[in-house]
């Protein structure tokens, strides 16, 4: 299957730049503070010596003049979902990997986009201005990803035929394998995919086990991992700016109630409920926190959803006064249907027995009996049949 890989490098920093164009003027570091440690999530292109996941302090030590920005993960996810929605207008088969990496199934699209660059142009049109785009097309996700990695900004590299010569010089660090395997490859002096591809598969398997076979296949440009297209979904987003920032849970809950009441009106008219709800809160410091709430059976009433949010807020302390609230309904579904009994008699018997139990509790002692044969052969008439309580 033909796969088009679309890379949006430095996705978090690009999202911040689109939101606040002033950031573009100077280098910036986006850090994640969801854990006790502040780690680097992304950085402005061109900054040397940085890598995602490194401690923020170390990054500041290297680039002291860079502006630090707290990561707004819900916002990045929103942006990414919007991009995926747009790309789904180009091809129905769109898989969103990590934020900034998209795989698109393109088999058959040549009928819609006959010219060589038509598809790439359409993809570029679907992605908001401000993002750098790199594209690569190949048979399989991994070769397409490598082709996109090697593309220039805005360009699309298409791999046709045997990708061996293209892959030969690509560093082995691009392989989607464990860090341990990458270290082992380096210790064997296998630094490029070409070197790995030149080895027999059995040798790789002998050294790396089952992962060795995968490494060898990927190095030869063979990736049969399936494309997992996302299902189109209805997304409802509502936001609310609070008049005065607050961290009082009751006020936040009232805000969420206000947002939900708007959406419930439209959902209930279609007899639908909420099965997944993302709530987010943004503080005056610019820090955003999000939480996903899943409903086992869709919430068909505002009261149900609010009760659940109330529970979430109890264990969801905010880092400061909240100035903006948002909800994002990403899962809507119909109320659960009830399976009609295939054996209605069995059910009705059950109901009847329940009623009899109630009656016996009221009147005391067994009231209804079953007629049973006891000793039908007996010469003594009263021994032949007995009555047993119905509810035993």
């Amino acid at each position: 299957m033909k796969i088009l890989c679309i890379l949006l490098p430095h996705f978090p920093i690009m999202c911040e730049t689109i939101r606040r164009p002033a950031i573009n003027q100077r280098p910036a570091l986006v850090f994640n503070s969801s854990t006790s440690r502040r780690t680097l999530l992304d950085f402005s292109p061109g900054l040397e010596g940085l890598a995602p996941g490194m401690p923020l302090e170390r990054a500041i030590a290297l680039h002291g003049n860079a502006e630090t920005i707290s990561a707004d993960l819900p916002h990045y996810r929103d942006m990414f979902e919007q991009i995926l929605d747009s790309l789904q207008q180009v091809s129905p088969l769109v898989e969103g990997g990590t934020e900034g990496t998209v795989y698109m199934g393109t088999s058959g699209l040549e009928l819609l986009y006959p010219k060589k660059d038509d598809l790439a142009c359409e993809v570029r049109r679907s992605i908001p201005a401000g993002f750098e785009i790199k594209m690569g097309q190949a048979e399989g996700k991994f070769p397409a990803y490598l082709a996109a990695t090697c593309s220039l900004a805005g360009e699309c590299t298409v791999l046709t035929g045997d990708p061996g010569s293209f892959l030969a010089k690509i560093p082995a660090c691009h392989l989607p394998v464990s860090a341990k395997s990458k270290g082992k490859l380096a210790s064997f002096g296998l630094t490029t995919l070409g070197q790995i591809a030149a080895l027999p598969a059995s040798a790789m398997e002998a050294q790396f086990g089952p992962e060795g076979k995968t490494i060898h296949r990927l190095a030869n440009g063979m990736d049969d991992s399936p494309l997992l297209p996302r299902t189109p979904r209805e997304v409802i987003t509502e936001n609310l700016e609070l008049e005065s920032p607050t961290s009082i849970a009751e006020i936040l809950l009232a805000g969420f109630e206000c947002l939900l009441s708007r959406t419930f009106a439209s959902l209930l008219s279609r007899n639908m409920g909420i099965s997944r709800l993302d709530i987010k809160a943004r503080t005056v410091n610019g820090e955003s926190r999000g939480k996903s709430i899943f409903f086992k059976s869709p919430a068909m009433e505002l009261k149900t959803a609010i009760k659940r949010i109330g529970h979430v807020l109890e264990n969801w302390p905010q880092p400061g006064p909240v100035e903006r609230l948002g909800i994002r309904i990403t899962g809507t579904s119909f109320p659960p249907s009830r399976q009609k009994s295939l054996l209605p008699e069995v059910k009705s018997t059950g109901h009847l027995l329940g009623e009899i139990s109630q009656l016996e509790l009221k009147l005391g002692g067994p009231q209804l009996f079953k007629f049973k044969e006891a000793e039908p052969w007996s010469r003594i008439p009263e021994r032949r049949h007995i009555l047993t309580p119905l509810n035993t």
Partner: protein, 91 residues
Amino acid sequence: MVSHTGKTPHTDTLKYVNCPEPIAVVENKEGWPEKVGREKVEAVDDCWRIDDEWWRSHKISRIYYALILASVRRLVIYKDLEEYCWYRQQY
């Protein structure tokens, strides 16, 4: 082994069907039924005796009579030979 059902067993949970009902009978000299209640016995259609459970303390010894009454009604009664009481019972 059968697990305990958690229910308290009661003697009244089982009821016998067709239990004998005491009845007033006037006997003749031979000990045969002559009147049942106020109704005269027209004929004795059948007669048989049951002796059972003789190994128990309360043994069963009955003599049954299938009667045709003056109203042409058929009735089965028996005499308990242990208690010397009369009972009616469907047979």
